[in-house]
């Protein structure tokens, strides 16, 4: 269950990384923002978190596009350190602003409590719905990328941006759109997260490290890989927490990254 959310976050990151070429360290912060979005929507206007999740997608999508256009595009390309530091600064800016505005108190969205009895298994209501939402979004994403015109454009740009440009695809727009999508995915993931766990300004941190592990595991820019990676990481985490300890489970993202980078830097899955 957890893995599905991780997968969403990971897919967003890998999408941006692969198509736009930017490593968005602030990606985790967008998850946090998504969670707070759902929280405030619930608290202030009693918006059903399921709807917030749906709404978060377009909201964060446009937010992402704006950020890309105004900020990212100013970067002189091919400056990896610059992009890293830029997004890092953005991440610091966002979570500290959040801390300032909303304080450190843990919040939660008590919407779906209780369980579904399901053939003898007891499934937490919120967990199941979250899973369902995540799956739904994932399916929508894949369908979009495979069949829609924009989706094809994005895939083309990710494979070879120069050729795409020559074919008449507006690569800059593609990049902005993709960035928006990445952010949208993160925001949606955040909204889903708010259903299950407490939220606080620094939560982005753990998501970003897992997202990196997922992206590297699945292969850069490989969305299917990220999906698989997310599930793998989620499962690994549960297993290790259960059999060893929660603390040991915290090492997973770092270990994964190091191991994969050393043994199979292109990721486990082929594009």
């Amino acid at each position: 269950m957890l893995g599905s959310v991780y997968a969403l976050v990971g897919m967003g990151l890998t999408l941006v990384w692969g198509v736009v070429g930017i490593v968005n360290i602030a990606h985790g912060e967008f998850v946090m923002l998504g969670a707070y979005f759902a929280f405030w929507a619930f608290s202030l206007i009693h918006l059903n978190p399921l709807l917030s999740t749906a709404f978060s997608i377009p909201v964060f999508f446009f937010f992402g596009i704006m950020i890309h256009k105004r900020i990212m595009e100013r970067l002189i390309k091919a400056q990896e350190l610059a992009a890293l530091i830029l997004t890092f600064g953005m991440s610091i800016l966002i979570w500290n602003l959040a801390q300032f505005l909303w304080t450190n108190t843990y919040r939660s969205v008590p919407y779906l409590t209780g369980n579904f009895p399901f053939f003898g298994l007891v499934l937490g209501k919120s967990k199941t719905v979250s899973f369902g939402l995540a799956v739904g979004i994932t399916i929508a994403l894949f369908t979009f990328l495979k069949y829609s015109k924009l989706g094809k454009g994005i895939r083309a740009t990710s494979q070879n941006s120069e050729v795409a440009l020559v074919c008449g695809i507006n690569t800059m727009k593609m990049r902005s759109l993709t960035f928006g999508m990445g952010v949208g995915l993160a925001g949606a993931a955040g909204a889903i997260v708010s259903l299950q766990w407490v939220i606080f300004p620094q939560m982005g941190g753990s998501y970003i490290s897992k997202a990196f592990a997922i992206v590297i595991l699945g292969g850069l820019g490989n969305i299917h890989g990220a999906l698989a990676g997310g599930l793998i990481i989620g499962v690994l985490e549960s297993l290790i927490t259960q059999y060893l300890s929660a603390k040991m489970a915290q090492i997973i993202p770092s270990m994964t990254i190091l191991i994969i980078l050393l043994l199979r830097p292109t990721g486990l899955f082929r594009k």
Binding site: E80, K247, M255
Partner: protein, 326 residues
């Protein structure tokens, strides 16, 4: 005859300049050395921090600034150096004068292995792997398996039996040496080879530059200085724990300072560290939480508009000569 006279004049004015620079340095050092005698503890402490971060920044710049391999794992050096030194002092009763260098040596020796393994990875991936190393080590130190040695999350409160002035002079000496080494390396063939690695690693290799060896040497040097400064840092804090020691902020602050001053220059880290600490002091007093947010914003502005840093900008504008030595 006249030409001779002019030549001699030029030579003399050059040596005047040279002597003037030496004089300036001597006066500055004398001033800095004497500070504990007349300044309050507040100022000495502030200077200690500035000097620690100067070494961090210079150490980072020595490797990353020259080779272009962005080392996002500076906190790893700091943490390892800090822990080894602290544990030696706290648990085994070592004298700080010995614990510090041992901590630094340990860090640089392990960095040989780390460098050998991780420096094959290029670009962004290298940066990420160093972060992963740092995060992983932090978590590792907190696990039940290592806690018997490292005291885990409880941390290690300790007293090292060193007075503030002595600490100050130690870090002052370290910073002085570190900067001299940076100066020597940057204007040496070794430094040029590191820069060639940054410019075009493959071309450098086909021109005979032994990239693996040179990268690792720079890495080890960086590890040594940063590890040593880390040891001093935690002695100063009288406390260490994994979150504190392997904190990403310890990696990023020196990087930002170097960015601010000018990556790849000799004095950029010094300028950056000094200015930044002063600005930090001012902002912190006023704004606390919002301070970090502003910090993030400053980072973004820096990267977008002043990627070459203050010194780099000054070199570009001609305010400062465009030579490697600075």
């Amino acid at each position: 005859m006249r030409r001779r006279f002019l030549e001699n004049l030029t030579l003399m004015s050059h040596s005047f300049e040279r002597n003037r620079i030496w004089l300036g340095i001597t006066i500055l050092m004398a001033f800095l050395i004497s500070i504990p005698f007349f300044a309050s503890d507040y100022w000495v402490t502030l200077l200690v921090l500035i000097l620690i971060y100067t070494v961090y920044a210079a150490g980072w710049n020595l490797f990353s600034g020259l080779t272009g391999y962005t080392n996002f794992g500076l906190a790893w050096f700091i943490g390892v150096g800090g822990y080894v030194s602290t544990l030696l002092i706290a648990d085994y009763g070592f004298f700080w004068l010995f614990a510090w260098p041992i901590g630094a040596l340990f860090t640089s020796i392990i960095s040989i292995g780390v460098g050998y393994i991780l420096l094959r990875i290029k670009g962004v991936y290298f940066a990420i792997s160093m972060v992963a190393l740092t995060e992983g080590t932090r978590e590792l130190f907190g696990t039940e398996y290592l806690t018997p040695i490292t005291h885990g999350g409880k941390g290690v409160p300790f007293v090292a039996g060193i007075r503030l002035p002595t600490l100050y002079w130690s870090i002052l000496l370290l910073a002085f040496i570190a900067i001299i080494i940076c100066y020597k390396i940057t204007s040496s063939k070794f430094g040029l080879r590191l820069m060639a690695i940054r410019e075009d690693e493959q071309a450098a290799e086909t021109l005979g530059v032994h990239t693996t060896r040179d990268k690792i040497i720079a890495f080890i040097l960086s590890a040594f200085f940063v590890g040593l400064a880390g040891a001093i840092h935690f002695t100063y804090q009288n406390y260490i724990d994994p979150t504190f020691a392997f904190n990403i902020q310890l990696t990023l602050t020196p990087i930002v300072m170097t960015l601010f001053g000018g990556v790849g220059t000799v004095f950029g880290p010094v300028i950056g560290a000094t200015l930044f600490t002063f600005i930090h002091e001012i902002l912190w007093a006023e704004l606390t939480v919002l301070y970090m947010a502003i910090f993030g914003g400053i980072l973004m502005v820096l990267v977008l508009f002043f990627p070459q840093g203050l010194l780099g900008w000054m070199k570009e504008k001609g305010i400062v000569p465009r030579i490697r030595k600075i």
